[in-house]
Symmetry: D2
Subunit: 351 residues, 4 copies
């Protein structure tokens, strides 16, 4: 029998923590040895999350997040705590010799000044920031394998970058004037106790929020600028959908030359030929978030709007799985030498 | 006691028919004398729509749609039948001396060639088309009052035109390069028995459809071109939201000059000063579809995205009420000399 | 022009407050002169409830709940505050000469000992309790018209009592062994900031709560015992439905004698002959909560389960309208000499 | 490498078919060699179910359901077709030497007369009926392992039987007078194109249907009578919940003797001690369907209603997984000598 990788989960109460538990409960090569929460320490996981009663993670007693304890008990730690909190403990755990996958935004923006501008907090661990690898497997798998600290991408950026990568890398579309109209399920808003997250205020309604001002904007621009090899400044605009899971982004770009829909489609197929989680749909098909629910899949639909010379790219992911915990699991698999898809569901729960 | 206007409803089975029944049941000055359906003739309304049991419209026996019969029994008729069907009966009813509000697309596009291009059917009644008035009260109230035939606007166009009117009329934003990202509740898809409309295929999911190719595109362009006094060609892109009612459109435009958010807001407030159903929200606020549910309100939020020199306009309406039957009722009120808001709910059912 | 009744709303932030605002905004004979909230005093209603922007209630500035001020400005006050809080202010307002409709549970249970047993708080105003009238119009309209203080029924009791009244009064079913399996939309849980009320914890899920122990039990038993003229003790069991509005109760009783379904149905029709809001459905039909949405209707379906000698009664109401604010409005109408249906929607918003 | 079991899926278009595909796509020891549909033959699975694009089942070309072809290509076949259809093909496939798991009702009722009474169709294959094993693993695992033909239990009966088994076997509650109030998500209604299944007719609403007359009644009574060793006749009453997946049943029984809640709980814990999928919740806890979503878990909550001497049992399962396809997979695992939990998700997707 093969040795199990010992993993810790710092931050077990929120939705990304719950999604990590779901994946860990079925993971063939990892064992959860620590789960932490300052508020819930002393209880078992199944006490606060009845879904895990009787699973192999449910009986674990939640502990306080202490770096020494984690360093002794784990090989790798997932951080599912808010930004700023993650920064300190993440750096400490790396220093203690652990591999760390941070699901917060703290190690995603390479330039500490940009971090401070958008997150209104100075970056306290710039050396670790410099070392961190951006954990988008389709772009950085090689570096992730060797990394001690992986900055797990944001949910919106995951879809945006995968959706635009072939267009910008192959100069199919202009890198200027891009508009991303993004729609997310409510789990993306987290488990915070705000009236705006109550069932009756979300159900049967739809709204926009943070137009032009969402913190995922610089993260998207950073990665797209690298792909386009020039500065990309775009308009990113999120909306809230009355559903639990799923992100769909409709991305409006200007075609650079007179390309046929078939040309564009072929370029996308080629770009993702060896990346099985990115499914470039046949022309004429468009993604639905339910078709990626619970998986790593990123479904991409392509439309050439000939009337306005636009390439419209539609991307769908599961915000909790591909956009957070599932992608974190892939990163952990890569960092520990496992198969990237270990513990990842093979097919969506499409209804 | 004042005389009641006698109205007929041609097409009582679909969702816009049901919404008209809701408004008619509470209307102080109209009485429903005919409701027609080829499939359900002979049943009472309350037999096929249990919601109306015991209301003043529930006991009416559904009849076949016969122009002569309608002409004798009604002063005004609402057409809530599919396009092409509406064209013939609408024209016949006008010829028989009735006032007609057509909720289909048949009399909206002034140019019959454009109609044929998008609806794949020649327009059989061009003279009536020439006579028809586009029933958007904020733009055409005077003409509606005198009209015999009103083409009730499409749901998406209602929001798009109201959202863009002040910007284009006052040349705040460019009339070129506009992108409308529209999201609609599922009642907009009608009551057709398709797998795509089943609860399990809609709930907890989100998708795009008809990108760049929706039939409401020429209707929006027709009205915006008139407002801008130049040809507007734009990219209109609808999506389906797992909710029953509501449309929210996020409209991306390019600012023409260096206007402050306050300048733009003031121009919008001025434009809708005497139009109480259009609520221009304070800066910093954005619409939610639940705040307009069941009403004529069109809520408009305005965002200046200074990073990309864009004006982003967010409009919310109730697709069934403002986007169809409620607006039809306002048109009928205007055509029959009633107060425009007769029978219109004063406040939304926001939860 | 007729004089308007001046009304106050104590507790403007919660869901029953919002529903009262919806009805008041369209009420032809009432004007809202005060709306109170300790937390939101100084803001306008439309600042905290954007749904009411531009309506005739939206601009009212929220004030502190002061009895003297209310007594000067109002003829009648609705109390939409939690129990215990309502008790004191309700009694004080009555003493100050106001008519009061209390939506809390504080004046519903005639026996102060029963109140204390279930609400864990002694009743501080027994004299007012003795005076209060239970505000179920089908049972107590006469007394309501003369009352100074009306205890508006609970949502679950409204459906339970209306559903069982004909059966118990006419001794069709045994008054013993009754089981009520009740299902409510989430607005019934109020606007409290609890994880259990978050969209992601309610959507696409179903649960029971408070089985055999809900505080509406003694209220139901009190009224049913009066109708049956003997002590009724029953099992009342609520559940939470992933929807915003609506209650459906499935009530299991034992038939007393060999009655046909038609006999039972006739008895129910007769019982509600002069009560237009109670709609006894034709045999073979069952209620759906959407058919009563936003109205006073109570829909009753009847099934004789011949295999087990049971009469199954299914009742549907809108928990916010018939189960709270709409019924409160009817009570206020009766207390002030208006038509009982003034300001009450004529037909449901069934989609 | 171990040999893969070759399986066929007869009926690939419906919701139970889709759920089987989800489980097969991740199954470590089975390979899907045939998927059939008369209407869709010739297309690939991923053409009609985009969710499976790029999975190991997506590329399979759908074929006509021909017994010879299936017999040559498969070791075991799942039947996910309607009753009556399943009867013939199921018997033929068994005769052709295949193992068969039938998800329809055709082989569940041991007495052909009962089948004919409830399904209005004579049973054409009584010999196969006599041979079939009722596929509830907690009761019949031994027989299932040797069976050629397994009748996969109905969704409602699975929850009802598991919920009542300890109470009836241990005579904690009376076998008479039981009432089951059952609530199901909409996937239980199947993929039929009926107005009643449309999103707008299900969402934000709740209804009862088939009270006292649902076809699962005799199936429940058959198994409970065997457990109680006396004839059980009960009242079974289903309802429809606006959610996709999940069943919750609230079961009302009369306690036989003066048992404490702790006694009852201990008896249930003991009964399911060696059955890990049945999770008897701690006293004070009640199930929610989301906590079992996508799994085999059956969660049971127990309440003693001392006021009315009742034991109330609350059971939650996932109707598609435990109530249909997941249980079918367990049966297939048992029949082919695999571990019962092969391919079964370890933890729920609780949000």
């Amino acid at each position: 029998m093969k040795t199990l990788i010992r993993v810790g989960l710092v931050g077990v109460t929120g939705y990304t923590g719950v999604e990590l538990l779901r994946l860990l409960a079925g993971h063939p090569r990892m064992t959860l040895t620590r789960a932490t929460s300052r508020n819930e320490a002393g209880k078992r996981i199944e006490d606060i999350h009845p879904a895990f009663l009787g699973t192999n993670v449910g009986g674990l007693v939640i502990s306080e997040p202490e770096p020494k304890d984690l360093a002794g008990a784990c090989d790798l730690v997932f951080l599912a705590v808010p930004h700023v909190t993650a920064m300190e403990i993440g750096a400490d755990l790396v220093d203690a010799g652990l591999k760390v996958v941070d699901l917060s935004a703290d190690f995603r923006l390479r330039d500490p000044a940009v971090y401070e501008e958008w997150y209104k907090h100075p970056h306290a661990r710039p050396a670790h920031l410099a070392e961190a690898v951006y954990g988008l497997p389709e772009l950085y798998a090689k570096a992730i394998k060797k990394a001690r600290l992986v900055a797990n991408p944001g949910c919106y950026p995951t879809a945006a970058i995968l959706g635009l990568m072939p267009a910008l890398k192959n100069r199919l579309a202009s890198s200027q004037g891009i508009v991303i109209d993004a729609k997310s399920g409510t789990s993306g808003a987290g488990r915070g106790l705000k009236a705006a997250n109550l069932f009756c205020e979300v159900a049967d309604s739809f709204k926009a929020y943070g137009l032009g001002a969402h913190r995922h904007t610089p993260e998207i621009e950073q990665e797209l600028s690298a792909l386009a090899r020039k500065t990309v400044r775009l308009s990113f605009n999120p909306h809230l959908v009355p559903m639990s899971r799923g992100i769909l982004e409709t991305i409006y770009t200007t075609l650079k030359k007179d390309l046929s829909a078939e040309d564009i489609h072929a370029a996308y197929k080629a770009a993702y030929d060896h990346h099985p989680w990115v499914r470039v749909l046949p022309l004429g098909r468009l993604p639905e978030t339910r078709f990626v629910r619970g998986t790593l899949f990123c479904d991409i639909g392509l439309v050439k709007d000939a009337r306005t010379d636009r390439l419209i790219i539609v991307c769908a992911i599961d915000n909790l799985c591909r956009g957070a915990s599932g992608q974190a699991m892939v990163n952990a698999n890569l960092m520990t030498g496992l198969s990237p898809d270990a513990g990842i569901p093979a097919a969506p729960m499409s209804l």
